[in-house]
């Protein structure tokens, strides 16, 4: 069925909503995290039980996108009462069907508990993790079934597109984007409206819009969750963008490592074509536009826009000099707008609710919200969307729930491998583009890794440098050789073989790599080194001067010993030791044979009495 007018769309929407409204609905999270914890089994059990009890007609069952609280998966929420169950296993399903669905009773043990008061919480919204968020882009993630366009339509989907094509000129769309203050969510923060205006003004008969879904940061999954959970919001944004700049072709560049996202997108594209949102004469307007998927082979550097263009054209993804910028010469030499997944998903919301509303969120220069993937040494890992300007502390402590028991948070790494490490003293920093850059980090695409007191900052810098020297395309000397040499220097420091002058050399090299590299990857590759040197210099100095790793991580500089006065002689550490380095009798203090110890840290983990020490 093709939708031709806005009126038709509204009628369909009303119809779909009527059909949905009065039915109870079970939403099982189908995000990658929950699937890994077995949510597919949970879904299958629900299907089986509902069928057996002949409830299939009166209760709806949905496999949705990511709910966000990945730490506690698999997640199940039940509408309309909005009961929120966590860590649901297939064996719990029978109880949920019988108690909650049939008799409207809540199963206490599956509810989440408020970390402060300790009381059980019934709804998502009552948890601090969700309460402090502001979900605009993610509002339908976890609510709709991403493989059914009618679900998106029932929640007002494609309404913004109808409004755009029926009531707005391309110039007006661009003006709305400019007024909204939306900036690129891929990291650099270029004003989206300005980019579109440049592309509209560029000469060329064929123009492209591209969605950059090459999310490669370790520990980041914002774009993936969006594409998996609500692909139509991205498509709608791209169609509006195409209308604004006069593009006829669209490309979604998505990683091959995201098979679920690729699958969801393929289904979404087919359905959008079926309803006439893609193809010729969309909504009866002169706009003809279609989107194809290009699957990337997993190079981190392909997220850089000129490298992405090379990859789309079938060449090796290597960046090139800008200017010319892609808005002048992009894919196949045509004017091209490249925006990140999250940026595109913001577009329909801005059109729908107005630029003034959007600009009222956030800070003076950074408007709207930003999705972060919160990972690392924190209680609530998962996907969060917060208004710009929230402090790091609020994000880490209130939404993230603070460190795991008896640990202390030391730093956060924000902005992915090219971002920086911010120490605890800077946690009152508001999260906006300018403040982060000033502190030496960057917004990046939204990865946020929390580190605790057992993290060595030199080791962290070394880890990221190892990632970058591997992911650098190798085209230009400072990035290829510079990252490799920085890695060598950091390894030397971690192994206690470095001298004072190595620290100076490291800093000097980092500065040159930052200044002379060809593309954004090299220009930001030094950030992990420069920020850790800036904020954690005493740790580097301890490695170099005292041959000591204060966090007890760098293997060459630490020893595990057992404190005889605290060891109860329980033998718990003896059998896990992979190299049989621990000897001892029952109820006698144990001893670690240093010549055999692999420094794996297993004994430290298993000891209940805190007798194993790192020195």
């Amino acid at each position: 069925m093709k939708i031709r007018t806005g009126e038709q769309l509204l009628m369909l929407e009303r119809e779909l909503r009527m059909a949905h409204d009065h039915k109870p609905c079970v939403r099982v999270c189908g995000g990658t995290g929950c699937r890994a914890r077995g949510s597919e089994d949970v879904l299958a059990r629900f299907q089986e039980l509902l069928e057996r009890k002949e409830l299939g007609g009166s209760i709806e069952l949905k496999f949705t996108g990511c709910h966000g609280l990945c730490e506690r998966g698999p997640l199940v929420s039940i509408a309309p009462s909005e009961i929120f169950y966590q860590s649901v296993e297939a064996d719990d399903v029978a109880a949920i069907v019988e108690e909650t669905l049939e008799h409207d009773r809540v199963i206490e043990r599956l509810l989440a508990s408020d970390p402060v008061t300790g009381t059980r919480v019934r709804r998502e919204q009552e948890l601090p993790f969700y309460r402090r968020q502001h979900r605009i882009v993610l509002r339908l993630n976890g609510v709709i079934d991403p493989t059914d366009i009618r679900e998106y339509l029932a929640f007002g989907g494609y309404r913004a597109l109808a409004k755009t094509l029926e009531n707005l000129t391309p110039e007006e769309v661009i003006e709305i984007m400019e007024r909204s203050g939306l900036r690129g969510r891929g990291g650099a923060g270029f004003p989206t409206g300005k980019k579109w205006r440049l592309a509209r003004a560029a000469k060329g008969t064929t123009k492209y819009v591209v969605c950059n879904g090459d999310e490669g940061d370790p520990g980041a999954f914002m774009d993936r969750s969006l594409l998996e959970g609500n692909p139509h919001s991205v498509l709608e944004g791209m169609i509006i963008g195409a209308y604004a700049i006069g593009a006829t072709r669209g490309i979604i560049y998505v990683r091959e490592e995201y098979p679920l996202a690729v699958g969801t997108l393929q289904v979404a594209l087919e359905q959008a074509r079926e309803y006439g949102f893609l193809g010729k004469a969309i909504f009866g307007s002169p706009l003809s536009f279609d989107i194809e998927i290009v699957r990337g082979a997993g190079a981190f550097v392909a997220g850089e826009e000129t490298a992405l263009i090379a990859a789309v054209e079938g060449r090796v993804s290597e960046p090139r000099q800008r200017p010319p910028y892609p808005v002048e010469r992009g894919v196949w030499g045509c004017p091209t707008v490249i925006n990140n997944v999250e940026t595109w998903a913001n577009v329909p919301v801005i059109i729908e609710r107005g630029p003034e509303w959007f600009a009222s969120l956030g800070t003076a220069t950074s408007k709207g919200t930003k999705i972060f993937s919160l990972v690392g040494k924190i209680r609530n890992t998962g996907l969060v969307e917060i208004p710009m300007g929230m402090t790091v502390r609020e994000l880490v402590e209130e939404i993230g729930g603070g460190p795991p028991p008896s640990r202390e948070i030391k730093a956060v790494q924000i902005g992915g491998p090219s971002g920086g490490c911010l120490p605890k003293d800077l946690f009152d920093l508001p999260i906006d583009y300018e403040s982060l850059v000033e502190a030496g980090a960057m917004m990046g695409s939204g990865g946020l890794i929390v580190m605790d007191d057992r993290t060595c900052m030199v080791d962290v810098a070394r880890y990221f440098m190892d990632f970058l020297r591997d992911e650098s395309c190798g085209k230009c000397l400072p990035c290829r050789e510079g990252t490799n040499r920085m890695y060598e220097l950091l390894t030397r420091i971690c192994e206690g073989r470095a001298t004072e002058s190595d620290l100076d050399l490291l800093e000097e090299l980092a500065q040159v790599v930052k200044e002379t590299s060809l593309c954004g990857l090299g220009q930001t590759a030094s950030n992990p080194v420069l920020t850790t040197l800036r904020y954690f210099r005493p740790e580097y100095e301890a490695h170099v001067r005292e041959r000591r790793c204060p966090a007890g991580v760098c293997k060459a500089l630490i020893h595990y010993v057992i404190a005889a006065d605290r060891c109860t002689g329980c033998l718990a550490c003896v059998s896990p030791c992979p190299s049989q380095a621990i000897t001892g009798q029952l109820k006698q203090p144990h001893v670690i044979d240093q010549s055999r110890c692999l420094k794996c840290g297993l004994c430290l983990e298993v000891c209940q009495f805190g007798a194993v020490e790192v020195v």
Binding site: Q321, P324, R480, L509, T516
Partner: protein, 228 residues
């Protein structure tokens, strides 16, 4: 025509000219290893970085002169202290992977690079890509290209096998800034030309005797120091 300022000197060049060519037109020498007038600009060695922008109106940026197109009113500095510092580090990096190249030793002397603080790893290739571009753009052969990425990147034939499209023309050798040996002739067993061991004459296989007998040495004596 586009008007720009190089080290304060005003010049006019046709649109589309690179900053490097504009500077060369004025007689300003900018060091470069990966640029050749007969090949497309690549911007890999970064030695030709210049400082663009006006210090009075905001921060300046370093860009490679060979790939940066001239813009109206552009202000360029080619030898500021910031640039010299950056180039010295780049030359030090080059020396650490290609210690025996005369071109690089000469550059080191010019820029007073007196020591190499990194462990030397003699790779005899700076991956400037001149050979790859020569093969593709002038010889129309595309027999060699880059393989792998990051620190594993190397110049080679597809699958490291003897190339069927290589005509053994030696063009790659001719443009190589670090290879100083000539091809041994078409009967040589190696896939492209001879056995000179330079990475442009593929492959510089491990185990084969090196042409120069140079081994990695952390205390490389550069020309500048020897001259004292």
């Amino acid at each position: 025509m586009t008007r720009l300022f190089i080290n304060g000197m005003e010049t006019e060049v046709p649109e589309g000219t690179s900053v490097l060519e504009a500077a060369q037109g004025l007689g300003v020498e900018i060091p470069t290893l990966c640029f050749h007038p007969g090949l497309s600009a690549y911007g890999a060695c970064r030695l030709c970085v210049v400082e663009i922008g006006d210090l009075r109106s905001g921060p300046t940026r370093l860009v490679s002169a060979c790939t940066y197109p001239v813009q109206e009113g552009l202000r360029v500095r080619t030898h500021s202290a910031r640039l010299e510092r950056a180039r010295r580090m780049l030359i030090e990096l080059l020396l650490s992977i290609c210690p025996s190249s005369k071109r690089i030793q000469d550059l080191a002397a010019e820029y007073q690079v007196e020591r190499v603080r990194f462990p030397v790893r003699d790779e005899r290739c700076i991956l400037c890509g001149l050979c790859v571009r020569m093969c593709a753009e002038q010889m129309m052969a595309r027999a060699i290209g880059f393989a792998h990425r990051g620190y594993r990147r190397k110049v080679t034939t597809p699958f490291d096998l003897r190339s069927e499209v290589c005509r053994l023309c030696g063009g790659c050798l001719y443009v190589c800034p670090v290879c100083e040996l000539r091809c041994q002739g078409p009967e040589a067993p190696d896939p492209v030309c001879g056995s000179c061991q330079a990475p442009t004459c593929l492959p510089a296989r491990e185990g084969l005797p090196g042409a120069w007998g140079v081994t990695g040495n952390s205390s490389v004596q550069t020309k500048a120091r020897r001259g004292r």
